[in-house]
Amino acid sequence: MAKILMKGNEAIALAAIKGGIDAFYGYPITPQNEIPEYLSKHMLDLGRVFLQSESEVSAINMVYGAAGAGKRVMTSSSSPGIALKQEGISYIAAAELPCVIVSVMRGGPGLGSIQPSQGDYYQATRGGGNGDYQLIVYAPESIQETIDIMKDSFNIADYYRNPVLVLVDGLIGQMMESVDFDKPVKERELPEKDWATNGTINHPGRRNVANSLHLDPYGLEQHNIHLQKKYNLIKENETAFELVNMKDAEYVIVAYGTMARICRSAIEMLNEKGIKVGMIRPITLWPFPEAAFDEISEKAKGILCCELSMGQMIDDVLIANNGRHKVGFFGRSGGVLPDPEEIVDAIVNFKDKVVK
């Protein structure tokens, strides 16, 4: 099919439909409102469920319920809205239910602003919910990549029985790009949902229960051990990243999402100046692509972590680097987008940016 021009948020919604979404529950917040707007127009015609709930808390618990019933469920929100959903997200992860959560990040903390930000890296990868749980976190850099990930996201969630978080910034939600919806999705053999709480017709005499409460400490510990095994499997199979110009790179940028695209332009400008700069672009933020750091040349002068925040992913960069190279940081926050020239300056003046 020929490419079409589409707004990021609407593309997320259409990709969810193509990915097999059965039900959407959400509560409005800028800059992601075109996702529920689009779904509200199309879901009923498709015989699927769209529901605007009375709050974020109820939306995520509706997701919990519908996911428990074995349906493909999604919610979307932006930073403070995702904060409200954290309790439910922890419960869903604990009960091992598949669902897709889209977070279109805006400036924070608090109500912050409605402009693009990456201030929710911690929220996405560390979680605001309680306990030892992980989300599979994708951070696409373009609308095309967002579509490709969204189409696959329900399969991944179903395969691992785990929530998938698609994390984009407000720019990806609000901008329009030429995109192609027909790229094939990776085929996965999905297990039967024999755990779904959808009645006993398929398993007479056995009640399925979706639950996150385990009062027996040894039982809960076993559950945690089981979850960790699953998380290790996800690390092994699903870690995704892109390497850009890494051969003989004097400096290596680490950036994701919109920031990675700004850095791509900066890298071209730097190469024209004769400074060889490469990039590690994490596509999954959890699992974080630690192995990519083995690709950095021993002679490299340093790593520059670039974020639309005051420095959150840099923790993972420092862990992955493990003392091998100097690490610097460049960040803008509050909804301010740097232009590529600012990244060029940060590399040229790397010594002023070094944090460790």
């Binding site: 490419k3 021009l5 901008m175 329009m176 790009e177």
Partner: protein
């Protein structure tokens, strides 16, 4: 065509600034180029300021953000004032001379004024002023041909507003004619 054109479009809310930018991005997509559009999406209101950025490129677009635009389309005076500082030295300024009466001084770039409101009013509807601007812009840059733009206009207006297609085409042609008569050229 340059490998990439960074375009800033700015004016009052309601002047068709966003639509102007979107038409360029739609056209790029139709011609199998790469198009990117993004709006300033603050709490803007009708009569307030509105602006959008567009990139039209024949290769994959990297940064959606640019420091200097190649082309500035200014629908009102505050927009011209605000964005002309961030313009490439070989850039183009196209402005609405119905609202910007003062002569533009110290302009290194090619600076072309088109009285888009007056021309649109002569055609009977001030709302097509943005299409007058589009005609002028395409005459100067040759970015897209009539076939593409006409198809996009038809698609955007849809069945409900199909009766406005001809008026918009006339506005495009009027903008082009105005620039032709001026005799200015932009390489």
């Amino acid at each position: 065509m340059n490998s990439a054109n960074n375009i800033k479009v700015a004016g009052f809310g309601g002047q068709g600034v966003m639509m102007f930018g979107q038409i360029l991005a739609y056209s790029a997509t139709k011609e199998e180029l790469f198009g990117l559009w993004f709006p300033s999406y603050g709490p803007e209101t009708r009569g307030g300021t509105a602006n959008c950025s567009v990139i039209v490129s024949n290769k994959q677009i990297n940064s959606p953000v640019f420091k200097n635009a190649d082309h500035l389309i200014a629908f009102n005076a505050p927009s011209l004032e605000k964005f002309r500082r961030n313009l490439a030295s070989d850039g183009l300024i196209l402005y609405n001379s119905s609202l910007i009466k003062e002569k533009i001084e110290e302009c290194d770039q090619l600076c072309v004024g088109v009285p888009i409101n007056d021309i649109a009013l002569e055609l009977g509807n001030v709302k097509v002023a943005n299409m007058v601007m589009m005609g002028a812009y395409l005459e100067l840059t040759n970015l897209f041909g009539d076939v593409t733009i006409h198809a996009i206009i038809k698609k955007i207006l849809g069945e409900k507003k199909a009766h406005l297609v001809d008026l918009n085409k006339q506005a495009l042609a009027a903008g082009k004619d105005f620039v032709k008569k001026l005799g200015v050229q932009y390489a």
